[in-house]
Amino acid sequence: MMINRGRLRWQCRRALLELDLVFKRFLERDFDQLDDQQLVALEELLRLEDHDLWAIVNGSKPSRDGREGAIVALLRAP
């Protein structure tokens, strides 16, 4: 399965400014280096509702698995 990077890039536009800011840094710094496995994990993450996604990103909720945790670590890295 081919994941279109442009689509994921667009879907990083969220309803909460908190997430937009986190994804902005991620898109500039990390996104182009992601491999296919990581893109799948990102796609899963982006399906979440924004409040749930923000809770995982800010650490008040745990990530659901290791693959997701790795993406979240990139999102959280200052």
């Binding site: 279109n4 990077r5 442009g6 689509r7 890039r9 667009w10 879907q11 536009r13 969220r14 309803a15 909460l16 400014l17 908190e18 997430l19 937009d20 800011l21 986190v22 902005k24 509702e49 924004d50 409040h51 800010n58 650490g59 008040s60 200052p78």
Partner: protein, 597 residues
């Protein structure tokens, strides 16, 4: 380039609270309805709203719509139209209860009614004491509202076009609206949506400012499209600034933090609000606190190396209180200010939050423009609701929780009007002009072929910085005048932006370039309208229009009790009267008075 055409009874641009509420009305009436949205409906910015939605249900304290109407008129600094305000306040209970029936999980009182809490500016008995008028679903009111409305729309067979961006409004030679052109992101194709009725519900444009609480999606597309198509924009000089956005990031820190005892301090650690509002101090109304903060910063008493922010201090609160009563604040401060608020104060600045002006409508949701001597002539086939529209209920300043109410009431009202016009045969599918898609195709072709242009980011940054400096919380004549010239210059530069990525599908660079065109229209409207309004009113406060005996709060009703209308073509300004007459003859008008709290 050939352009595919799709035909519907109605097209709604926007799937936030306003768009979804309008769509429901149409689909349930059996109209063939398309809803276009840049992002999945439940990722619209309405999701960010936490505070609640206003309705005078009187479940927690005695209340009625007359009091709500008074608060809203006074909050608007008398610039709101009293017919529309009466309409909104009278309809509030109905639309909130309806939402409850759609499955919205409102917080409950012990006896099962919708729980209500107090909110700034809302009062009992014409300003006498605070009232509990805000209905909320925990801290996810907007989110819960969108979900309830979305599910209901799915049931009613509303057809969604997700990840489609509307580009331009289509009008015929007589000015009637025939639909929109839109870009499908997945294919890069442009398509014409031809219809009998077009409703805009595209939300606000808070991204024209450098410091904004709004998510990146709020680029004022509907407002920009309307302006480019010759529709004037109303009262665009009025923007609400929230006092506590995290410096540099903009993320909103809720009023609740000051409610729990948070204190604002300047560079020398002084609790400066004591000087500006001896009674309410840090809890004075949004505009008062924002102006006090700005004065401290402008007079060199800010904090940090550039003295360009103040501090919100909660270090004196018990850590348990912070974690329990102010959930989320800890995370926001850590992520965006790099401080642990339990140990260190949070850097904050007044931050652009809400657009009071927009596309002019009446309370029925019809877009209205001056024509043949009537300043409020409906444009055939064109309707608008939500933050992109100006009904005008918020006038010069919006009360918290009145915006979610606006979405429900005017989303529904616009929908009802369309259904009425549709069933009575007032609407027809008018022939498309041959050049219907030409404007959009030319915009895309320009981006395709542009070389040696500036980046969209650089031009956007210049716009945001200019707006922040020249048309911020406090306004100065010289700065405004200079700002008008600068924004015109930025607008010229936006005409030759260049994108490096020319790919067809999922091209976010192209989308951002198209969004910038809309932001630029909004920025021009804002600064030109602000420069021209020589008084202070609500959120528009000029240094050269201070509080005097002749002009209380700097407001000059003799000359300026009127709505601004800005036309994109030549930056032309026009004005129209404020409607001080309520909708019903037996409703007493709220007479002009000084706005004090």
């Amino acid at each position: 380039m050939s352009v595919v055409k799709r035909t519907f009874d109605a097209v709604i641009v926007g799937a936030g609270g306003a768009g979804l509420r309008a769509a429901l009305q149409l689909s349930e009436a059996g109209m063939k309805t398309a809803v276009l949205t840049k992002v999945f409906p439940t990722r619209s910015h309405t999701v960010a709203a936490q505070g609640g939605v206003a309705a005078s249900l009187g479940n927690s304290t005695e209340d009625n719509w007359h009091w709500h109407m008074y608060d809203t008129v006074k909050g608007s600094d008398w610039l709101g139209d009293q017919d529309a305000i009466e309409f909104m306040c009278r309809k509030a209970n109905e639309v909130v209860v309806e939402l409850e029936h759609y499955g919205m999980p409102f917080d409950r009182t012990d006896n099962g009614k919708i729980y209500q809490r107090p909110f700034g500016g809302h009062s009992q008995n014409y300003g006498q004491s605070p009232v509990s008028r805000s209905c909320a679903a925990a801290d996810r009111t907007g989110h819960a509202m969108l979900h309830a409305l979305y599910q209901r729309n799915v049931r009613a067979n509303t057809q969604f076009f997700v990840e489609w961006m509307a580009l331009d409004l289509i009008r015929d030679g007589d000015g009637n609206v025939l639909g929109v052109t839109a870009l499908e992101m997945e294919t890069g194709e442009v398509c014409i949506f031809h219809c009998k009725a077009t409703i805009f519900a595209t939300g606000g444009a808070g991204r024209i400012y450098h410091s904004s609480t709004n998510a990146f999606i709020n680029t004022g597309d509907g407002v920009g499209m309307a302006a480019r198509a010759g529709i004037p924009l109303e009262d665009m000089e009025f923007w609400q600034f929230h006092p506590t956005g995290v410096a540099g990031a903009g993320v909103l820190i809720t009023e609740g933090v000051r409610g729990e005892g948070g204190i604002l301090r300047n560079g020398s650690g002084e609790r400066f609000m004591e000087r500006y509002a001896p009674n309410l101090k840090d809890l004075a109304s949004r505009d008062v606190v924002s102006r006090a903060m700005t004065t401290e910063i402008n007079e060199g008493r800010g904090c940090g190396p550039d003295k360009d922010y103040v501090l919100l201090d909660i270090t004196h609160l018990a850590p348990e209180t912070i974690m329990k009563r102010l959930p989320g604040i800890h995370e926001i401060a850590m992520q965006f200010a790099g401080v642990d608020p339990i140990k260190e104060p949070i850097p904050v600045v007044p931050t652009c939050h809400y657009q009071m002006g927009g596309i002019p409508t009446n309370y029925k949701g019809q877009v209205v423009v001056p024509k043949d001597g009537n300043p409020n002539t409906p444009v055939v086939g064109f309707y608008a609701a939500g933050e992109c529209a100006c009904a005008s209920v918020h006038g010069a300043n919006r009360l918290g929780t009145n915006s979610l109410l606006d979405l429900l009431v005017f989303g529904k009202s616009a929908g009802e009007t369309v259904v009425e016009d549709f069933t009575s045969g007032n609407l027809s599918l008018r022939p498309l002009p041959a050049d219907a898609a030409d404007v959009s195709l030319a915009r895309l072709a320009r981006l395709e072929s542009q070389t040696n242009g500036e980046s969209v980011f650089d031009v956007g940054l210049e716009m945001r910085r200019t707006m922040q400096k020249h048309a911020g919380v406090f306004r100065f004549d010289a700065l405004l005048k200079e700002g008008v010239a600068r924004i015109k210059d930025v607008a010229e530069r936006a005409k030759t932006t260049e994108i490096k990525d020319k790919s067809k599908v999922w091209n976010t660079a192209r989308i951002e370039a198209l969004e910038l065109d809309n932001l630029i229209e909004v920025a021009r409207a804002t600064i030109v309208s602000a420069e021209a309004r020589k008084e202070s009113r609500g959120a528009h406060v000029r240094d050269d229009a201070p509080d005097t005996a002749e002009f209380p709060n700097g407001r000059n009703d003799g000359e300026w009790l009127k709505h601004t209308l800005w036309y994109s073509d030549g930056d032309r300004l026009d004005y129209k009267p404020v409607n001080l007459k309520p909708m019903n003859d037996d409703t007493k008008p709220i007479v002009l008075a000084k706005r004090t709290y």
